[in-house]
Symmetry: C4
Subunit: 294 residues, 4 copies
Amino acid sequence: MSTLDLPAPYPWPEGKTSAFCFTMDVDAHSPWMWNNRHEVPQLLSHLEQRNFGPRVGIRRIAAILKDLGVKGSFYVPGAVAEAHPWMLPALIEAGHEVGLHGYFHELVAQVSDEEFSRVLDSSLEIFRRQTGETPKGFRSPAWEMTPHMLAEVKRHGFYDSSLMGLDTPHTVDGVVEVPVNWGTDDAIFFKFLGGGDPAPRSPAEILGMWSEEFEASHRFGSLFMLTVHDWISGRGARPVMLESLLEKVLAKGDVWVATVAEVAAHHAAHAMERDQITSHIPETLLEHPAWTRT
Amino acid sequence: MSTLDLPAPYPWPEGKTSAFCFTMDVDAHSPWMWNNRHEVPQLLSHLEQRNFGPRVGIRRIAAILKDLGVKGSFYVPGAVAEAHPWMLPALIEAGHEVGLHGYFHELVAQVSDEEFSRVLDSSLEIFRRQTGETPKGFRSPAWEMTPHMLAEVKRHGFYDSSLMGLDTPHTVDGVVEVPVNWGTDDAIFFKFLGGGDPAPRSPAEILGMWSEEFEASHRFGSLFMLTVHDWISGRGARPVMLESLLEKVLAKGDVWVATVAEVAAHHAAHAMERDQITSHIPETLLEHPAWTRT
Amino acid sequence: MSTLDLPAPYPWPEGKTSAFCFTMDVDAHSPWMWNNRHEVPQLLSHLEQRNFGPRVGIRRIAAILKDLGVKGSFYVPGAVAEAHPWMLPALIEAGHEVGLHGYFHELVAQVSDEEFSRVLDSSLEIFRRQTGETPKGFRSPAWEMTPHMLAEVKRHGFYDSSLMGLDTPHTVDGVVEVPVNWGTDDAIFFKFLGGGDPAPRSPAEILGMWSEEFEASHRFGSLFMLTVHDWISGRGARPVMLESLLEKVLAKGDVWVATVAEVAAHHAAHAMERDQITSHIPETLLEHPAWTRT
Amino acid sequence: MSTLDLPAPYPWPEGKTSAFCFTMDVDAHSPWMWNNRHEVPQLLSHLEQRNFGPRVGIRRIAAILKDLGVKGSFYVPGAVAEAHPWMLPALIEAGHEVGLHGYFHELVAQVSDEEFSRVLDSSLEIFRRQTGETPKGFRSPAWEMTPHMLAEVKRHGFYDSSLMGLDTPHTVDGVVEVPVNWGTDDAIFFKFLGGGDPAPRSPAEILGMWSEEFEASHRFGSLFMLTVHDWISGRGARPVMLESLLEKVLAKGDVWVATVAEVAAHHAAHAMERDQITSHIPETLLEHPAWTRT
């Protein structure tokens, strides 16, 4: 058998051909807090744009999910739960999953291992206090991970949803990974806070692009992981575009529409043996024999 | 009631479903003056591109507004009114609103509170001198605001049209806010002065995008705030595109097409009690217990 | 009469409604020479991409112009004429206009007035030596101009084609200006030399965009100034796209298709009295009373 | 004869009108190694995105090539062959060509001549060890070349496929050059690793663009050199898009679909006399008489 051959299809439940997750990273003002942690500017523009998310955006999208009967996974930074204490309980009451997403949307490359662990505990505490429950999953701010973070996620028994080494569930260092995908993230196409940012793409173009992605995901039997943000996709014509995409997905029939926690539980129960990846960071090439030999 | 529920629709006048404002930020050469305030280059390219606005661009768009019977709101920096003394009187004579937009398009983050207040007075003076009237509204250059600016705008009794924390009228620190929207601003899609700027998008694509935005705005009962610039949307095929957009808006029927001053007056008279926002800038997270606890 | 009224239509010859110029800035390797003037890298990638222009690109486009019977204006840096001595005579033999475009595509903001004048003489010398004729017009590298340059262009009796303060012919400091337009320049949409440059747009999209521009230009009675580059628009599907655009222009009927020299001569003979602009560079606002008053 | 005339058509074999090569630069994690050679970050995001290529991407594309009966040319950095020792043998077994592409995807401008030669030997060694064969061709990482590299490529008797001075095969310094083309490279349209990268374009748009390029390539009798990357075009809807493009190419009939080695061999045997280019790097213009004369 040539190793160019395709692997066996991923075993989705109930004979489904592919899977689909709707997720929202409810960042709101938290990245602003992180970016301005050393000096707080007296400027309102970015804050107000971001506050649109909890005030309006999340509601417009939640109403569409409710109409269509879709349950999603909402990753909420601790600082957002703290500023909007109605949010976690309301999401759970509506049947959605809530998961961890840092406290201040702190960027991985800018915090120490010790700081990460400490702030993860703070996030967990506020989730438990506000909901009476322990969340099942973690999604890293800006989708970066380190071996230390994976070890911490494993210690807590969470799944992770931050990496993209495969487009079906797998494990990394023994943690169930439900992979994300830049191609189906709203921020890279729509995020715009002001001068210097690239102008947003049209919802019609991205609907076309995500429809193509969905057809390909179904053909290849993989997971379509949609990620949107409260203040980005909650504005303008984007909720309408999301509605159109969800209608296409639901109309397909043999797609498993599930929360990320449900996908992670399925993987843990039925497919833990396949695609076990060990995080491996290559050493510097400057000590590699191909570079240094004399 | 779950706090994920949508709020009650905004009470537009005469039972209209949504609203539409046509606005122009008549920047012309004023940002060039600001950007080059410390050293003036002997270069003509940018200046001539910007001068196209008062020479040609504003006229082509004004002719289309006149044909369609649309009254707009024109925000004119003091330096532009000074260089083109015909402009404010001609706009008023044609039935449009004129409003404040800084003197040299000075960027908020680059001026002190004292400088802001001083230059606001200069702008007001030239408006009164040229038109015999006091303008009703203020729009911040580059759409940035501070608590100090809001206090100044309130002291003068102006409305503001610079923030985007909601997509319907509201108040911020007691000032009536008629919100703007990057998604319906021409500059982020079309502005191009030369090497290094991202290339302009096609008018056809943006017409499609703004038509989608308009349909969504109507569905959600919000305000479609269109913002164009004299030297940007006055050039090439863009006035024709604006004409097509306005025709769609006018054909819809139950959309309230109004000046920003009319929208602000309506809000002050009929909806002052809803959506009262207090500007609140979070303190540094470094003093937050979630970050610093030991 | 309100000054918001549109001016009288530009008086094109023979009752034509609008005008169209096909121009090529034959930069080839000359910007590479300028960018690397202080240190020459031993790298071939950019040079070979640029050499494609004189080897192939200019020929593919010239063949299309010949088929359609369109005469264009080709602005050739001195260094390009020097490296390809067949070029100027061959262009003239084919009925095209040739014009000045710097010697090494030197950027205006990076040369002194004295250097500009000296290098302009070198360019003129090589044109006279290779063609036996004095060119009629000047186009500035990267479309920048200074009052000094305009004075030099006037001293030589050239027209200029570098600014965009109007979209019909006019004068600046007494020099006939046949204006350019970033929106109908190929480089901003297609130029790509390697890592870091924004990816090129599709010829189909730009054909749509330029077709819109052409219809608007015709509606407003202005000049459609198309500018392409040998190594950019001579590659891939772009010559085919140019052919499609030219076919649309020719099919319109009442468009004056002319060289830039012909347009300049027409303006000098029939419309010199209108739109006389004096270059005026505002002084620093820091000495403006609105900024400094106490 | 005017030198603006088009040259004689390239002599493709069997009376074919144009040619088409499918190539993959199998970069996987090797550029990550090069970029982080001085300090290795403990971050997994980019590595996992790149590892998707050898795990999944190359397989999905290889399956499509197999279905359509297309043989491609795969340029594999030494470090990728070393990390995935199944890859070179599996590609050869499937009938594809394998070629050299650096060891760590080292960028030309960042290595000395001596380092280039030394690392080229390392690459060659691993190819010979894993396949028992000597590869026929070289493609430079990031498509940069120097006169030294050409001399080394010539010493080994390889063809090169890295430059774009023509769009048909030719020679540079006596080395057969099968030219590449940024316009038909996937990375410039799709590559996205995270924050700061421009967002990817839609596969539908690029399929349209490449179809236009293909029609033009056929009209002008040139070579369509398609270049994709394992971890970029192997993801999402892009393999499906490649399938659609290949179906168009195969349906055309008189296109020669060949590996790069086959094209290079054809050129060496039948067209060596035409288009012989000598690498020539101009000296600094500061010593040019047009610049320095007094």
